[in-house]
Amino acid sequence: MTTRTTNPAPELRVEQLHLAYGDRTVVHGVDLTITPGRMTALVGANASGKSTLLRALARVIEPSAGRVLLDDHDLHRLPRRLVARTIGILPQAPIAPEGIRVADLVARGRYPHHGLFRGHRSDDDAVVASALSATDALELADRRVDELSGGQRQRVWIALALAQEPRILLLDEPTSALDVAHQVEVLDVLRDEVARGMTVVIVLHDLTLAARYADDMVVLAEGRIVAHGSPTEVLTEQTMRTAFGIEARIVADPDTHRPIVVPRARGAAPSAQ
């Protein structure tokens, strides 16, 4: 836990990255550097390659060409457990072991810190407890995961990722099943972790929410990066046209001055339909 605050987070970078499922190439030659200690939002239309890119950053899928580098080391040549202690990923629809209780689920996040012959220790309890309280899920510790509501479940999954104590946390649409209050709650938790030095990369569909919370935004379209920069630089009416194929007005949030995306219905003029 101390290393997290003393060392700067490692840098994750991809070079000429191609990703494919069988013959179908999904990501075409992407170059990207994730700035350490910031929150980067990956956005783009459905099937633009965001989730695939995120999975490659976590070493879950192997590149068909190009490289993923963690502090200049090829991610796929580093030891599995070392990578698991550095990078955590919360997939879009994670599956919990049948009938598992919250405390037990989150405790399994300590796996990469254990050896073959070294199991749970009392200092693991401290990490699990702080992960559960960071996500406001401590009182759920004794509940069965399959009995929880969508919002509670999502907080528990984030607690699992936090218990892993990663320096870089990747999340694939962690807010998609949540109402607006729970979305804000989850993103606030992630902002807190960024404030403590964690790098967060998050796939989001809600562009306004992404612009509100992220430091950097990366826009993907058809497996290529079409824009990368601060939310204000990235979210333009031109980007909305190229990446999403829609007309939209971009206005500034009166409080934060961050961009808000207001889509226009087909035919330009706003109407009831």
């Binding site: 999975r55 976590a58 070493r59 879950v60 599995r80 457990r81 990578v83 698991a84 202690r85 990078i87 955590g88 990923i89 919360l90 997939p91 629809a93 994670p94 599956i95 919990a96 072991p97 049948e98 009938g99 598992i100 209780r101 405390a103 037990d104 405790a107 399994r108 996040g109 796996y111 990469p112 254990h114 073959l116 012959f117 199991g119 749970h120 009392s122 309890d125 401290a126 699990v128 407890a129 401590l138 510790a141 004794d142 399959d146 009995e147 509501s149 699992l160 990722a161 892993q164």
Partner: protein
């Protein structure tokens, strides 16, 4: 933090209680198995016979020569099947992924019967069963698609089970009536003709598997997530599944080779074990459940089923196992209906 420690202590206490209770059940059933029979023995005679004390030569033969081998075979085969089923169900994350459903047991039986019909002895039958189980498992692995997971693996396995049944049916139609009769008895699953070689082989495979699983049990706990989460935690889900399939096949093969495919034990022990333990994978609990089930079923078959014909143990586990399956399904449905 104190709550977490309390939760862990409660989990450990539950484990101890469940294990102690199952061991107690096994001890009681074992004493019954040694005492009951054509010549009923009292507790003192059972102990004397077991220890070979002087003054009870008759009971020594009955206990050590007749009843003990049958008891040991029932316990070991039950434990092997229970462990095999729970292991495969947990790594494939599907309660249907049990060796008696996805064709491993059927492959072992078909090959076992083919060998049996050549007139070979029990060692050759065991060898045939191991070969058949490994062939069926390799087929399921090769045809089940990359990663060996979920529904596709189970469906391919069921197809292999039918294929093995076809081979078996054909072999039986070519056999003489006498051969077919003994093959049939073996096929239902019976611990009635134990050999010390079989007992030794099942014991060795069971102990080695248990030691291996005790070392890698933390890997198995992470395995029960989806593959992406498991990989994110530093596990190798596909490699672990392949290893688990090999261990499951060996356990199933030696059990089937020694006693025939005793129905439903591999399938039902896992869910019962997880229910008692309150969480998965509960491999040890499932092994104890399997051992107690086969022993209890054999006692029922020998002493409770009326008539002069003693049915093989597989008939009893089959009948009771089907009931267990139905109860589990109905209860599961109820629980899902009550969910928010």
């Amino acid at each position: 933090m104190t709550t977490l420690r309390a939760l862990r202590r409660r989990d450990r206490t539950r484990g101890l209680i469940v294990t102690a209770a199952l061991v107690l059940v096994l001890v009681v059933l074992s004493l019954l198995a040694l005492a009951l029979g054509a010549v009923p023995l009292g507790p003192a005679e059972v102990v004397a016979g077991l220890l070979g004390l002087p003054g009870a030569p008759g009971s020594e033969f009955i206990v050590r020569g007749v009843r003990l081998p049958r008891l040991l075979l029932a316990v070991l085969v039950g434990a092997a099947l229970g462990l095999a089923g729970a292991l495969l169900q947990s790594v494939v994350r599907n309660p249907l992924a049990s060796p008696d459903i996805i064709g491993i047991a059927q492959g072992a039986s078909a090959a076992g019967v083919l060998v049996l019909l050549t007139g070979a002895g029990s060692a050759a039958i065991t060898g045939g069963a191991i070969t058949g189980a490994l062939v069926a498992a390799s087929l399921a692995f090769l045809l089940g698609g990359r990663g060996v997971s979920g529904a596709r693996f189970v469906v391919v396995g069921v197809a292999i089970a039918f294929l093995a049944q076809g081979v078996l049916g054909y072999a039986l139609t070519r056999a003489s009536l006498v051969d077919a009769g003994s093959a049939y008895f073996w096929l239902v699953g019976s611990v009635g003709s134990p050999s010390w070689d079989d007992i030794g082989l099942v014991a060795v495979v069971l102990v080695l598997s248990a030691l291996l699983l005790a070392v890698v049990h933390r890997m198995l706990a992470v395995q029960s997530f989806d593959d992406t989460t498991a990989r994110a935690l530093g596990a190798r889900p596909v490699a672990v599944r392949v290893g688990a399939i090999v261990v499951t096949s060996l356990l199933t093969a030696v059990a089937v080779g020694a006693a025939g495919p005793i129905a439903f034990v591999a399938f039902a022990s896992g869910p019962i074990g997880r229910g008692l333990r309150g969480r998965g994978p509960a491999l040890g609990t499932a092994a104890l459940v399997g051992a107690a089930s086969v022993l209890a079923a054999d006692l029922l078959a020998q002493h409770v089923v009326p008539g002069s014909f003693q049915p093989p143990v597989g008939l009893v586990t089959g009948a009771l196992g089907a009931l267990v399956l139905l109860v589990l399904l109905v209860r599961d449905d109820r629980r899902k209906e009550h969910q928010p």
